[in-house]
Structure formats: structure tokens, C-alpha cells
Amino acid sequence: MTAFDPAPESDAATQRWQAGTDTFGRVYNVALGVTSPTAYTEIATLADCSPNAAKKHLERLAEMGIVRADVDSRPAQYERNDGYLEWQDTSRIADELTTDEIIDRVATLEAERAAYEDQFGTTDPTRVSVFDDDHDDHAVHERMTAISEWQGIIRDIRLYELARQLAENDGHLLPA
């Protein structure tokens, strides 16, 4: 048996996610995965469309709040608008979970956070290296997963706290 190729060169690979999607859908999906300012020409290449079409759709997505635009750079750059998308997530949680459910989830997450703080001897996961002393490969993976989960827990606690405020204000950011 020949060796397994982890990165086969194939047209099927680039087209795999594009099937059945129109140009706007492809630009939208590409934009959701773009986490640093990226030239619209590059986004056009990823979305397999013309630069003009990509720019037109990105401007529309920027008006909707889904992407952030830096039109002063040449060429103009775009990236996913994390603030807007986080608010969407928060809003969905406020809509779908009761205040009691949110409070329960926060309590569980706070206990998990405390366990990680004990395990690593600090309250700040960004100060912990994924490498431990014996450089064992398996251990690196385990630590990476743990540190990431710990950071996720801290973020989810904040998200739920915001969701609880939204729920208490009937979906509004501010009390009426």
C-alpha cells in the first residue's frame, strides 16, 4: 500500500465546500473564516469569484455588521466582525435558555475554572506554556487541550453573564 497523502493535490479539494453555493454564499463563508485583515483580492481567490464581485459582497456584509472593513488600505481589507458575531451568540443564548439555566451553567463553569486554577497554580491561562518539563508529545496535546478549554471556560462565563443581562432586559442591551 502506498503512503497516505495528507494533502492531496486535487481540484476536488478546493471545490469541495463550494458546491451548490452562489457567489454571495461563498464570499460569506470565506469571510466567516477570515480572522485578520485580508485583501479582498485574496478573499476573491478563496471564494473563486472576481475581485469586483468579492468587494461588492464584502461591502454588503460590512453594512450588515458581519465583517469589518478597512477601506483606507490599498487594496481594501476585510475580516470577520467578532464583536457582532459574539453578540449574535449571546442573543441566541438569552433567547433559548432560561435565566435559571444560565445561572446553573455559570456555576458549573466556575467550578471547572477553579479546578484548572488549582491544577496549573495560576488564575491566568495565558501565562501557562503548553510545554511541560518532559516534552512528551502526548502530554503537549493534553496540555494544549486543557489550556484551551480553560480559556474557553473563562470566555463562556462572560458570554453567559452578558446573556443573562440580555434575558433580564427582554433581549435589549440596556434596560427600557
Partner: protein, 148 residues
């Protein structure tokens, strides 16, 4: 300790990227190779995206196959492919990008045990492109399991 390559932030990693996991879940759900998708523990606190692959695409000797995906806000990721064989063995490999001591930030854990590690070169690190490469590689594996 081998220093991570120059593009790396400090030897750590960020929380899971909720938006990318949701994007990948939507894509996987419409992929012909995928039977079901799940966010673990749930969609409110996604930590792991798991995709079960269509069993009727596999010979009977392979009881189940799945891909487990983690994607981090630091643009690190793991795509872990696992086949459960009837004889109790697993056949697995993983596409990884994260700080590490064994070789470059982007690397591949070779099948069948995912212990041997080699450098990996990908045309793009966009989540949709990585997903497409991984699923296409799995499809090529599928062609081989029928001829074994």
C-alpha cells in the same frame, strides 16, 4: 526545547473559535461523506466538533469512522481521523497546527497510530480549505480500504 517557528505567538494557545466551529459544522453537515455532526458538549459551549462518516461508504470490516475537530482563536487546529476496525484496532491520523517540540507548527501525525510525526505543507490555512483537504484525503483513503 526547540523554539516554535517565527510566526508563533508564545508557547500557548487560545480558546476554541466558536464561529469557525459553527462554520465547519454547517459545511460538514452538507458533505456527502458525513452522516451526522455534533458539537460537544453542546452548541452553547462548543469544545469539540465531531463528524461521523457515512458507514455505507466503508467495507464491513470497518465498524465506524469519524473526524474530531478543534479550531482555536490562534488559528491553531487539530483534525483527528479515526477508524474503528472490527478486530478492535484503530486506524488514525491527525492534521495539527499548534506550538510543539517535535517539529514545525503545522504537522501531520501519520497513520495507522498517529504517533510518527512529519512536517505538513498546506496550500491555505483558511478553515474551509483545511477542511476540504482533510476530507479529500479521507476519500482517497476510502478508495484504498476497499482494495486492501
Amino acid at each position: 526545547m526547540t523554539p516554535p517557528d517565527s510566526e508563533s505567538p508564545p508557547d500557548s494557545t487560545g480558546p476554541l473559535d466558536r464561529q469557525t466551529l459553527q462554520l465547519l459544522e454547517r459545511q460538514l453537515a452538507s458533505d456527502p461523506l458525513v452522516a451526522t455532526t455534533a458539537l460537544d458538549p453542546d452548541s452553547y459551549e462548543p469544545r469539540l466538533l465531531s463528524a461521523s462518516l457515512e458507514q455505507d461508504r466503508y467495507p464491513k470490516s470497518i465498524a465506524a469512522a469519524r473526524v474530531d475537530i478543534r479550531w482555536f482563536t490562534t488559528a491553531d487546529f487539530t483534525f483527528h481521523y479515526i477508524e474503528d476496525h472490527d478486530d478492535g484496532d484503530q486506524w488514525e491520523c491527525r492534521w495539527d497546527r499548534h506550538p510543539n517540540t517535535h517539529n514545525s507548527r503545522l504537522h501531520f501525525h501519520q497513520p495507522p497510530t498517529a504517533t510518527q510525526v512529519t512536517d505538513l505543507d498546506l496550500p491555505s490555512l483558511h478553515p474551509l480549505e483545511v477542511y476540504s483537504t482533510v476530507l479529500t484525503a479521507i476519500e482517497q483513503r476510502l478508495e484504498k480500504v476497499w482494495s486492501e
